[in-house]
Point group: C2
């Protein structure tokens, strides 16, 4: 069995999920993809905090260990924030390694740059996990709607906001009460700004926008409103009319201009996103041939995000099959 | 610009949709796929009925014209019923042509055989359009969930039944009244047996089953119930408890046995298929890493089905890029 060595950057919720499932699904990966995966190096900020975890992988805070190992063919990145993630991925790509990231903030800023760099270096960037968790929206748009022109996308892209809005309506909670509950359950960070002020959904929307239209609008020109100003009274007023307030991110092309927005909207019961509740995410895409297709599912969490990253791995390995690239990486790994 | 010649078998609702969109999307196909598509031959039972349609294509009832033309690289099949579709596709594959079909009954019976024959002949079979119309469920399962083990699939796979059930509930109609309305709107055939007795959903379920588990259960062992025995009273009784009756097709592996069924089921409002209304289709797939992901959208009709077939074309052309196969087909076509 040929072997591919990989590195894992970050060992938080997502990193642990990737580590776990690369082990539990080792045999399936071997059967489906014809290679075995070895996690050679794990890079974390504080190795001493993880001494009970690493198995056979080298656990280090020194990213250079990854760069110095030419046998490492693929780098999984599951760090929070733009840096050092962007620098690590840039250097990985320059060293001829494929990269797979779950880092939406970094990718909203630097995704286009990384993709171009990867093309120039004949490697691939997997970023399914940056947007809508386990829902395969990135690859659906890239691979499954190549001829359809996607005129518009509307999504619930932030599971925390959707959870809070659902709880407020169902249990008559104030925003603060619902937020505390979300924090207690691990759905929201201690500092919830990114989620409830709409930044998280905005980053994901910009990633979709770049993929669909090969450009992004000026960020400052995009209306970005979170749910922080929504009151229980607002929700009940809409509810009495059969409507639900949902936090929507949408982008469409109008007169060759990109129109994008992130904001709470009251939806009637016939809207495809009306029924998306709790921490789920969903995306409605409108293709000019197919019409409206909706994808929904778990928008975050260790397992769904790990799923997206490992399916990216499968796509990368499949794409290498038979290419010169493949033999270089796989053979060098099996030496 | 390189050119690929294709043939179209059948010029009913779906065939016309494919013909139309191959023309309207010619430039997009050229830009995205780097080839132009020429519909060289259209095979219909009664050419004299279509004399106002054909453009530059040869319109014929003689399928041999397709076989005799080595420049035809891809055959779109949009005929109803098992024969002559199966024979045509078998011969096309044996002649080294890729095939793309929308024919669910034929594919439920003969899909596995065609796929094996295609593998032996180094060509591809696209069958996205056989199942759930414009929803890309086949390619999602094939390409986007390679590592996830799909433990279970539950779907609303027959739009006609779903439309009838929705209309009965919303407008207090009898089954007969709702069926007549569906026929009037073109959602149901004059002979509605396939739809309302569950055969159509059953065929699609068997296609999904073959794809997922590489085998099918004994057809006679599968519970197949349509909606024909559902009364308005049944629907209202469930409605009074907040439930909706939906026609579900489901398959899962239990103790290494395939358990499949097609039947009406009363769903509570928290079920992901509760909100699927009218002629839409939807599928919930349960992956062992990702959890539940739902795809929904238009389950039938000229445009969504044409969309599925043309996206299959795109996937086939992309897969050929750089292969020997590609140069043989594309060059021969541009001679």
């Amino acid at each position: 069995m040929n072997k591919i060595q990989v590195a894992l950057l970050g060992l938080g919720t997502v990193g642990k999920g990737v580590y776990h499932h690369l082990h539990t699904h080792q045999r399936i990966i071997e059967r489906e993809l014809g290679v075995s995966i070895e996690i050679a190096v794990i890079v974390v900020k504080h190795p001493e905090k993880h001494h009970d975890f690493a198995g056979e992988a080298i656990l280090t805070s020194n990213f250079q260990v990854v760069l110095d190992n030419p046998k490492i063919a693929i780098v999984f990145e599951a760090i929070i924030g733009k840096e050092p993630a962007f620098t690590y991925l840039t250097k990985s790509i320059q060293a001829g390694k494929h990269v797979i990231t779950a880092n939406k903030e970094m990718f909203a800023y630097h995704g286009n740059e990384l993709v171009k760099l990867a093309n120039a270096n004949h490697v691939r960037v997997g970023y399914e996990a940056t947007t809508a968790g386990g829902i395969p929206i990135i690859q659906t748009l890239k691979q499954l709607f190549q001829v359809n022109q996607i005129r518009k996308i509307t999504g619930i892209l932030n599971g925390t906001s959707n959870y809070i809005l659902t709880e407020m309506r169902e249990n008559r909670l104030s925003l603060d009460e619902a937020l505390q509950q979300a924090q207690y359950l691990g759905y929201a960070e201690e500092d919830p700004t990114n989620d409830i002020e709409g930044y998280d959904a905005f980053y994901k929307l910009m990633i979709l926008c770049q993929l669909l239209y090969d450009r992004q609008p000026e960020w400052t020109s995009v209306k970005r409103r979170g749910i922080s100003a929504i009151t229980l009274e607002d929700i009940l007023a809409q509810y009495s009319q059969g409507k639900r307030i949902k936090h929507l991110a949408s982008v469409e092309i109008i007169d060759n201009q990109i129109e994008a927005s992130v904001e709470p909207v009251a939806l009637a019961s016939n809207h495809p996103l009306f029924a998306i509740e709790g921490v789920d995410n969903a995306i409605v895409l409108e293709g000019d041939i197919v019409g409206k297709v909706t994808l929904s599912g778990p928008g975050a969490g260790s397992f769904p995000t790990a799923s997206a990253m490992i399916e990216d791995l499968a796509i990368i390995i499949r794409s290498l099959k038979g290419s010169n690239e493949a033999s270089r990486l796989i053979e060098s790994a099996s030496n």
